[in-house]
Every structure is written in C-alpha cells, then in structure tokens.
Amino acid sequence: MTAKAQSFAGTTYAAERARPGLPKSGTKRLAKGLGWFSIGLGVSELLAPKAIAKISGVSNTHTALIRLYGLREIAAGIMIFSETNPATGVWSRVAGDALDLASLGKAFASPRANKGRVAFATANVLAVTALDLIAASQLSTNGGHGIHAKASCIVNRAPEEVYSFWRNFENLPRFMRHLESVEDRGEGRSRWAAKGPAGSTVEWDATIIADVPGEVITWRSLEGSDVDHAGAVRFERAPGNRGTIVKVNIEYNPPAGVIGATVAKLFGEEPEQQLNDDLRRFKQVLEIGEVVVSDATLLGTGYFEQRPARPAGIKELEEAESMEALPSQTGTNYQRDRAEGRM
C-alpha cells in the first residue's frame, strides 16, 4: 500500500459511517395505529367495495379497483408491523394516499359521482396523508441524515484504464444521468452541475481527498456548498485477471430533503438504483464505447419512464435528445435527416 493510501485509510470517510438510531416510541405508536387503520380499511375495501364506493361517493362500477386498493392497504399494514422496516410500510401508505387522491380527483370529474361525498372523502384522505407524512419522515430521519448509496460493477478492462477514465471527472456526465457537467479546475478542484427538482440546476465545487492511481479516488464538496456531497470509488483487479471490480460509495443531502428522496425511492428512482444504472452505463461506455439505447428506455430506465418497445417518433427522439439520452457522439440518421431538412 502506498503512503497516500495509508493516510486515506486512516481518515473516517463520511459515506462509510455507521448509522441508524431507533425511532422514538411516540412515532412507533403512530405508525402502529396507521398499520391497524390500513388493515381495517383494506379488509373493508376487499369485502365490501360497494359500501366503500357509496361512502366515498364514487360510482359503484369501480369495485375491482377498490378491492385492489384494499389489497394494497393490507400489504402496507403488514409491512408496518414487520419489525425490520416499518418506514417503508408507512411510505408505501403515503404513495397509496397519493393514488387514492388521484382516483378521487378523477371521480370528482365524473358525472356519476356524488360530489359532496367525494369532497368529504378527499378531506379525510388528506388528513390521513398528513399523519402518514409525519410518521414516515420521522421514521426515516431518525439516526441519519442525507442519502447514502453504494454499488459495484465489474468492467472487462484493466484497473489502470478504468481508474483513468473515472479520474477524468469530465467523463462522469457520460454515464451519470443526473449530472449535467463536471469541469476540472485543476489542483484537484472541480465544479459540478446536476439536475435539480423541477428543471433546476444545482451546482457545487468539490475537491479530491485521496487519489491513488489504479486504486482509489475520493472527493467531497467544499464547505459552504449548496449540496453536501461526498464520494469514493475503488478499483480492484478482479481474480483471474477478469477486469476490474469497481466499488462506489456516495453520500449527499438532496435538495428536496429526505421526503423527496424517499417518495422517489417508492417509485423506483432510489439512489442506489440510480447509482447501479449509472455504473451499468459506465461499464457500457468502457466496454463498447457508448451507452446502449433501447426503444423502451429512450427517456429513462425508471418504471414510469418506460415507453412502449416500439420505434420512437420525431417528437420523442427530440425529447430524448434534449435530455441528452441519445449517445452524444452518434450521428443518428434522425439527426442527419433533420440537419439536411428531410424531417
């Protein structure tokens, strides 16, 4: 081990600190109450969907959907009572509340609905949503702050090559989809720009903490930055010379806070998955030179970003291009045709 690596091993790296404490008992009681509520409502929805439809003023043609929501409630209830992760159960209730509210909103527009009752039901759901949010954010924030994600991949290239590609931080946006740009400002300093919520851009300056060629790079944002961010990437020669094992740890405090991060998590955009997808693209860029695009994932790989597996039309291709989702160096026939005025 080099002297540099030793000094790195001696420092405590923020992303690798041990975390969670236990939630307060008040929060636990609230969560349990919500769990029983979930199961009670779920059973009623499952067994008496027509009565539920009547109480909430929606058309009784939706019994199948109400039964499905009943199953969802019961699942959330069971999750809350599972000792290992009550927070996920409560967060799934928050997502369920959002679904209920969307359905009620749709019912409000329907001519067959009893508007007074729908409004009453909506008010009730809103009240429960508030409780859910309180319980969920308390369960999630206790004992830790920010988001920590780790992921690894194996790349069919030598550690030195994989390291050099990563060390050139300006390459990172080629595979990290939420990054817009990274500008190397010399002497280990860099300026990062990432996509923030609602089309905004978040920028910060970072500095390299440890840098051992072919082995490890760690960095963190400078004191006083808008975003508190730290990252570490390690490169290990895979057994049998089968390339390089890449291990990444990142930690950051997201602009939308822990609530935004956890809601995103429920819809499949969780940081660890994002990092996994980033690493998959990293591997693609190193092994085949560009990011592989399929019809369904043109606008992203998230569950709700999937489009049908059919060729995209011009509008969608333009959208993908504006999101920089098309491989940047590709002279696609679509781009060429448009440049030559054939589209």
């Binding site: 194996i154 069919n156 089968r242 390339g243 998955q273 996994n276 997808d277 998959r280 591997k283 693609q284 092994e287 085949i288 030179g289 560009e290 592989v292 695009v293 399929s294 019809d295 369904a296 994932t297 043109l298 790989t301 569950y303 999937q306 489009r307 049908p308 597996a309 059919r310 060729p311 995209a312 039309g313 011009i314 291709l317 098309l326 491989p327 160096q329 590709t330 002279g331 696609t332 026939n333 679509y334």
Partner: protein, 398 residues
Amino acid sequence: MRATCWYGKTTVNVDDVPEPQILNQRDAIVKITSTAICGSDLHMYDGVIPTMKRGDVLGHEFMGEVVEVGREVTNLRIGDRVVVPFPIACGNCFFCQSQMYSLCENSNPNAWLAEKMFGHSPAGIFGYSHLTGGFAGGQAEYARVPFADVGPIKVPDHLADEQVLFLSDIFPTGYMGAEMCDIKPGDTIAIWGCGPVGQFSIRSAFLLGAERVIAIDEVPERLQMAQEGGAETINYAEQNVYETLMEMTGGRGPDACIDDVGMEAHAPALIFGYDRLKQAMMLETDRPHALREAIMCCRNGGTVSVIGVYGGFADKIPLGSLMNRSITIRSGQAHVQRYMRPLLELIENGDIDPSFVITHIMSLDDAPKGYEMFKNKEDGCIKVVLKPGTNGNAETVH
C-alpha cells in the same frame, strides 16, 4: 411502417408505427423479408410474461436486407441479406467473449428490472418484454438491430428465406437443447414437447449421435412430424409417460431428457388443475409439469436439459429425485450467435432443411390470425411465417 403490437392478453394488432432509426453506432436497420411467430411469443400473448406495455412491438425471429448501417458496422453493407439472432449481444463483455451470448452484460438497459426478478440479468432480446430491454421486435417491416457487427449472419442467395430464417432462434435453440445432453453414441434421448423447438431437438439429437429419440406430446400432427424426424412417440393423453418410458428402456430411463415445453405445460387433469389454480392465485408463475416428469423419468446420473422457457417461480420440483440420483441440470436461452455458422453449414450441406416445420405462411397484416391459429393449434398449425409487404390470405403449406 406496419408492426405487430401487443395490447394485452390475447390481443395483438398490426398497426402503423414510426420507422426505426439508428441510435447507436453499431446499429443496422434491416428491412424484414420473413419473420415468424415463436412459441415463446405465446407466453406474452397469454399474458403470463410480466413487464409488457401496451403497444410493444413483438417478434424475435426475423431476417431481411440491410438498408442502413451505423458508423462502426464495418462487416455489413447495404443490400446484404442477413438472419438476425434473437439475443442482443455486444461481443465485448466477459460473457460474449466466453460465447455465452444470451447472457451479454451490456445489451439490457432494463437490467435492474431483470435483477429484481432473476437476481441477475440476461441479455436484451428483441420484442420480448421490458425485462429483456424493451427492444422493438421484428414482426414488422423494419427493425433496428443493435450490435449488428456481432449478431446478424449473411446468408447465401441460393437458400430460400424459409430454409435459413430459423437460424434466428428455434434451430439453434432446439440444437442447444440436444447439445446440452452431451450425447454419446448409443444414447436414448426423451424429448418433452413436439412444438417447433422440440422438432429441432429431435433432429439435432440424431445429428449429435443419439441412437434413439422418444418424443412426447398430445397433438397428433406434431407427433406425426416427430415420427417423420425419426422419433418414437408417446401421446401423454393416452399413455402414462413414466410407465411407457420405463417399459421402452427396460426400467433404466432415458440417458438424457429435454424439456422443450416450459412454463405453460399442459398435463393430465389433476396436476394441471393444481398448477393452473396456483398460477391463477399468483402462488406460482410457471407450470413445471414437463420438468417434473423429465426429472423423474431420467436415468440415474443422466442429464435434464431445460431449453423450454420459464419465467418466474414454480413448486413441487422433485429435488430429492434430482439430488439422490446424481442428475445434471443444464439450461439457458440459446447462445444463438455461437451456433449460426455451424448450423448454416449443415443447411448448405443438405444435412437438414429447416423449412419442414412451416405449416402456414401469411402476410404480416394477418399476424393476429396467425397468433390465434398457433395458440389454438387450428388447421394443424405448427409454425407460422409472416411476410411483410405481401397481401392475400393465409397459405397452408402442409
């Protein structure tokens, strides 16, 4: 262009969709001249494959003419006549370099979805759910073919489409099913399922040196086609499979068994009802009747080769039988790229003419009818080939 699109359980329509574009530098665009409906397409048609989305273009068995190539495709030229393998494979990763192309690490952008279901992701596949990448399929007039410098194989003009089309899937798949049996001269091979892949397993088993092939199905025309390929047959609707096989092999059992059926097995009433009920209650996704029977029938120390498609989870697999009797299980989606060239040589030498399996040739616009006929095995239907850009009614070949 016209394309066969999935809209839900037993609903496919031929719709107008945008023409594909080159999106990656190693893509090619192929103008399709022949495409086929695969038995595994029926799993999506039946709605048992998750992660389908309304409007998905189906089809992973296709061939045609190269009409456009990306900047880095140097081995193909516009006008080349090619057959396209169903797994999409990069050629650069660990698995491609080990010739395990259907396990390519780089070709499935939805690998995270597959990892949730399977633990690890297989390669991307054309027109085969979002779990395997969400690539538009080839039951269409045109298809975008990624990694065109690795997959497609050029075919000589003197061979008809019908003779080479099945290099895309069912011939290599049936062949790999037989190859995984590690056949020695004198071996007896039992094959569950006489659909198109089963038919190729039968013929491949003989090509690989089997002395005796016993094929199991219940559809008379499929059993007849199996007999034409040299197999002895068992009709499971009339005979007890285990007892018949034991009688035929002196109680020892076949040296190797091939499951050419997969997740939607039909079986005698009681066990079929059990699996169907569990499937309906979402307690299992697959009905593994053929696999159970293949394990129980296989001789001690023999091999069970699983090439029929499974999608999720199943139960009552006889692990005790498997373990105590030293059974080897081998399986996989076919590594088609590995087999295309040697199998093309067999076709060129006249050792096999894969067109024997075709019963119906239709225009692409008749795809919905083709799916229905194939699923219900109407009019002796065993294999449907679709021709884009032609009109007219279904043509029965056999």
